[in-house]
């Protein structure tokens, strides 16, 4: 069992008008095996939370802590966080020309495990995971995310999650831009990882749609840079029916 613990997290970004606070005291605790949905309107700071945990240089942590199994994540570089067991599935995966998916996956796996994977098992694992995500084998020889469609990029993110086996995965709007078929394939991928490992998942989304396929244990409503309400899956149903108005108007 491991725990990802976020305590009173405050984060700002630099703007032309000076620093602007985006996160205003976030508290969240995620244990292994749990799935937490973070739901909130646009601009509420959901993605900032994802990128801050992963260590994107654009965001400045002004106070608070993030620990994984008691280890201070904020003291670590981006790659150290990943090697500590954190994974971020990005909303906008980045193109890397000249680096094939196959080379990228092997390099990442080697870095995470601290040793190269056994060739025989690795080839089988990659092929199996790609089959499951309905990805054509020729994907392996394409350059990372280059010319991928929106759906292909998201499948590629979940492929990495399956192969890198993180302790905690933050999925940042993985459902955005997916049609129903792609959403099912991607959700099944996430569910497979949940079944086959002890991964804790932080599922960030604007819409309740993906929650039909990935059942959360907890739902947090995120408004104005912090958690405004918390509950079980039933909270998602209420959001589906009534939207965010109740919390956004309350915060005015």
């Amino acid at each position: 069992m491991a725990t990802l613990e976020i305590r009173d997290l405050h984060v700002s970004v630099e703007t032309e008008q000076g620093p602007k606070e985006i996160l205003r005291g976030v508290d969240l605790t995620i244990a292994s095996g749990q799935t937490h949905a973070i739901m909130g309107p646009n601009g509420s700071g959901k993605s900032t939370l994802a990128y801050s945990i992963a260590g994107h240089p654009k965001y400045t942590i002004t106070s608070g802590t993030v620990t994984l199994d008691g280890e201070d994540l904020l003291e670590m570089s981006v790659d150290e966080r990943a090697r500590a067991g954190l994974f971020l599935a990005m909303q906008y995966p980045v193109e890397v020309a000249g680096v094939t998916v196959s080379n990228f996956l092997r390099t990442a796996k080697t870095a995470i495990d601290g040793k190269a994977p056994s060739l025989r098992h690795w080839v089988k694992d990659v092929k199996g995971a790609m089959d499951n995500l309905k990805m054509d084998p020729e994907f392996a020889e394409r350059d990372v995310n280059l010319g991928f469609s929106g759906g292909e990029k998201k499948r590629h993110e979940i492929l990495q999650m399956e192969l890198l086996k993180p302790k905690f995965a933050v999925l940042d709007e993985t459902d955005s831009g997916l049609d129903v078929d792609a959403l099912k394939v991607v959700s099944e991928g996430v569910n497979r990882v949940r079944e086959n490992s002890e991964v804790g998942v932080l599922l960030i989304t604007h819409y309740t749609r993906i929650l039909r396929y990935i059942k959360p244990d907890f739902v947090h409503v995120f408004v104005d840079g912090k958690v405004a309400a918390e509950g079980g899956p039933e909270l998602a149903d209420e959001l589906e029916a009534n939207g965010y108005d109740r919390w956004t108007s309350a915060s005015v």
Binding site: H56, V78, L88, G98, F104, A111
Partner: protein
């Protein structure tokens, strides 16, 4: 890659070509084709001074290939393309003849032709090499430069009808070498060239590469990559002259710059004349700036005299290392240094892989890794193995 620095050029300056040194007065540095070049660092290559010095040659000639020296009066030398600047004219005049590498018509070579040219002195060396690639032949020709010298060379590349040539040039010079080179390509009907120039070493390297077509169906892939370290000047100027219909050209040059005073210049001129209907052309230059204190000049120029073309375009980007790529790779556990190497290697790998000579590709990739790892001497060692 972020586009932080782009120069869009204007119309193509009319390119004057000649065999006669008198047609090219001593440049002042204000001329369009000299304005980026530090003339003093050419160290005598603009002066009309005879020299008997030569580079030493090591060659590997497969069956179907002959190598001969011809005198200045040889008929072949009156048929080669003219040159475009004073250094080229001086090289033609003072080399008093040429080395002719001839690939027999219809030959299909079983291995690459390799010419290794090594410099080991401070004297000025003038040189002229003619690659005479016979009709319907298939050949790969590699010209590797190493050592130190002050060398002005003209490479006349005559690709006859239906022939297919892969040409690779490697500038693996010692740090103090000076090299000014013309590469003049003439393509016959349905002739193809895939050229890659790799410039790593030297103090000053300046390439002037020109392509002309004598019939329809000519196809020129002109690629290059360069890595400039502190204080190095690397310049590549291309001119593709589309005068024949239904020909194709694609120019791709990629460079990386690191260290104080590293300076690269890329000028890509494409002229589509009124007679060149059905032309398809594209040119691209991308520069990756790895440290402060460098300068990348990139000037694509395109002039079109007919509307009846298939395509014509150009692109130029000069950018910093992309932080978002770095974040993405690091977020997958890959340490920063390795992530950088992966991205830069990827940046160049595309050009290396299409050379089609595996052991040379391996050497070049090793050299590039060493260059980017901050070990230019090891890089030169690796490339000249």
């Amino acid at each position: 890659m972020t586009e932080t620095y782009t120069i869009e050029g204007g119309p193509v300056e009319l390119h004057r070509s000649s065999f006669d040194v008198a047609d090219f007065p001593l440049p002042t540095g204000r001329e369009e084709d000299w304005r980026f070049t530090p003339l003093d660092r050419l160290r005598g290559l603009l002066e009309d001074q005879p020299s008997g010095a030569e580079l030493s040659w090591t060659t590997d000639l497969p069956e179907g290939v002959t190598l001969t020296s011809v005198g200045a009066e040889d008929a072949l030398l009156r048929t080669v393309p003219k040159v475009f600047d004073r250094v080229g004219a001086l090289a033609l005049q003072n080399s008093t003849g040429a080395v002719v590498v001839k690939v027999a018509a219809n030959a299909e070579l079983d291995r690459p032709v390799v010419l290794k040219l090594h410099g080991s002195g401070a004297d000025v060396v003038w040189g002229h090499i003619v690659l005479d690639v016979g009709a319907n032949s298939r050949a790969q020709i590699v010209i590797e430069h190493s050592g130190t010298t002050r060398y002005a060379g003209v490479l006349s590349v005559l690709v006859a009808d239906g022939a297919k040539l892969t040409l690779v040039g490697v500038q693996g010079w010692d740090r103090d070498a000076v090299h000014a080179q013309h590469v003049n390509v003439r393509l016959g009907k349905d002739a193809t060239i895939a050229s890659t120039q790799v410039t790593l070493g030297g103090d000053l390297v300046r390439f002037v590469e020109n392509v002309e077509y004598t019939g329809t169906g000519g196809d020129a892939e002109m690629a290059g990559l360069y890595i400039a370290d502190a204080g190095q000047h690397q310049e590549h100027r291309l001119f593709v002259d589309h005068s024949a219909p239904k020909c194709r050209s694609n120019v791709v040059y990629k460079g990386a710059l690191q260290g104080e005073g590293a300076h690269t210049v890329w000028v890509g001129d494409v002229m589509i004349r009124a007679t060149a209907e059905g032309t398809d052309t594209y040119e691209m230059n991308r520069n990756l700036v790895l440290t402060d204190g460098t300068r990348a000049d990139s000037v694509p120029n395109l002039e079109i005299e007919t509307g009846e073309i298939l395509g014509a375009g150009h692109a130029s980007t000069t950018g910093r290392f992309d932080d978002e790529q770095l974040f993405y790779l690091q977020a997958r556990g890959i340490p920063e240094e390795e992530a950088r190497r992966l991205v830069v290697r990827g940046f160049f790998a595309e050009l290396i892989h299409r050379i089609g000579i595996p052991d040379l590709q391996e050497r070049l990739l090793t050299a590039i890794e060493a260059e980017l790892g901050g070990e230019p001497e090891a890089a030169i060692g690796a490339v000249n193995q």
